[in-house]
């Protein structure tokens, strides 16, 4: 039985990753979950310098999910390389670094610094809904997305995954733009923009007013978008959005995802990703599936 998949020449031992922002750099979960089992760890967003993030409250639970407006707080790429990346080198898993920035130059600066490290791929965060300048601005206009992808590809020595926002009119157009810009893969969905109001205080629950909506409730939107995007482009698609068990993950794979990411479910269960891997294996045994790749886009 073969679980490995290949994304832009990078061989993953299985198609299960952790979604950016929900697993730290793996360090925070290492005592609770076996990182060696993961196909890849996608780190929390890293910028050229340290970012303070947004005021609190930054998180709120909503029905079937949560809102977050962390604001991409991170220690900056230098600290990340010195500490987090060194830590991850001890594990037998691929490392994908999520890269964030306010400008194209900032994205490129991070990528250039990581070019000569053991990082396997970059995931470019052009879809964070919680940062005012930049971020989402790069991911909501097809022309800008294509140009941003081109600029990053011009300096990147490793495969580039563009992480797409669901907060667009046509996900197909955005997927095509990333592909036209030279992206090696795309990942989706980032969070949907949401809001929660405390009716007793008549106040926004999040200090940022809006936040990214994630969790089990967003899954049908994500599956549909992964289906549309993967049928529009030839590059591999990494699917995510509300995956909390193997059944969820398999929906994404059947919709057309080559790999999947477990996100918010890590908060519900630190071993959620490992259980997804186990469940995919059990499914393959049940249906006599020899190679996971035969399931990719197999929905009809």
């Amino acid at each position: 039985m073969k679980l490995s998949v290949n994304i832009a020449g990078v061989e993953l031992k299985n198609p299960v990753m952790t979604a950016s922002g929900t697993f730290g750099s793996g360090m925070e979960y290492a005592e609770m979950a076996d990182l060696n089992r993961l196909g890849a760890i996608v780190t929390k967003g890293v910028a050229n310098v340290a970012w303070e993030g947004n005021p609190t409250p930054r998180v709120a639970e909503v029905y079937g999910g949560m809102l977050n407006a962390i604001g991409l707080q991170n220690p900056g790429v230098d600290v990340f390389m010195e500490r987090d990346l060194k830590f991850l080198e001890a594990y037998d898993t691929k490392v994908i670094v999520n890269v964030c920035g306010h400008t194209v130059e900032e994205y490129c600066e991070v990528v250039e610094k990581l070019n000569d490290t053991k990082v396997s791929m970059y995931e470019i965060n052009v879809s964070c809904p919680n940062v005012k300048a930049g971020a989402l601005a790069f991911g909501q206009d097809a022309g800008v997305l294509e140009a941003t992808t081109k600029a990053i590809k011009a300096v990147a020595k490793k495969p580039v995954i563009m992480k797409l926002s669901p907060n667009v009119t046509s996900i197909k157009d955005m997927a095509l733009a990333a592909e036209a810009g030279g992206a090696d893969a795309i990942s989706l969905i980032n969070t949907l923009i949401g809001m929660k109001i405390d009716i007793n205080r008549k106040k926004f629950v999040l200090a940022n007013r809006t936040g990214g909506f994630s969790g089990p409730a967003v899954k049908p939107v994500a599956v549909r978008m992964v289906y549309e995007a993967s049928h529009a482009v030839k590059i591999p698609v990494i699917g995510m959005g509300g995956i909390s068990n193997a059944e969820d993950a398999l929906e994404f794979i059947l919709a057309g995802a080559t790999a999947v990411s477990v996100g918010t479910a890590n908060f519900t269960d630190p071993e959620a990703s490992m259980k997804v891997i186990d469940g995919i294996e059990a499914y393959m045994v049940k249906y006599g599936t020899e190679d996971i790749r035969s399931l990719i886009g197999a929905v009809s």
Partner: protein, 257 residues
Amino acid sequence: MKRKTEALIKEHKEISEGIFSLVLETELAKEACPGQFAGVYPKDGSRILMRPISICDADESSLRMVYRVAGGGTKEISGYKSGETVEILGMLGNGYDLEALKGKRVLSLGGGIGIPPMLYLAKALKMAGIENTAVLGYADNKTFLKEEFEEQCGTYVASMDGSAGTKGTVLDAIKENGLEAEVICACGPMPMLKAVKEYAQEKGMEAYISLEERMACGVGACLGCVTKTVKKDEHTHVNNTRICVEGPVFDAKEVCI
């Protein structure tokens, strides 16, 4: 070692209006220390995040948590019966540094649902032979846990409506009773902690305060529950720190609240 584990409910009862005492049988208990907390997961799948609840007491095999029903999640949890199991994530947070308190007189202040963790601290201080006086701030005369504090240490009460002890806050009770100490340990609502920080500064006392914030992961990954810090934090490299890992107990001088 932090982990998610299943715990057996040994006892669960309402000890005051909307305040519940939950006793869990779990091997995590022996790793607990005062000031720490654990996450209790609701069973309803529409609620995906654990509820962080402070530890009110612990022995070799059981954890006691006293919590207030504040929303749908804690309302659901309050319905769990003894004999049922519940999933918890623990032990979380740093807790009080008892070594730093040795040889000093401690005033431990609890306000509202910040009272329960101070009981565990009171027991630990007594065991360590550290002099401690508790001052408990309530809204009214529903003085939950008061008798249990009296078994551990000198105990004073304040109530906002004046129906029990000193009328006003824990600081009013300290002043009225002329209480003195070298160190304050406090847990309670933000206005109380701000006042405590100011009071300690005025009096030149050390103060360790336990902070609360909405959190998702509880283990330092999501960066949801941060508080502003005076100095650059060693982990985050910005002026804020994670309440769930570096806290919830902080030296009041080091956090901007």
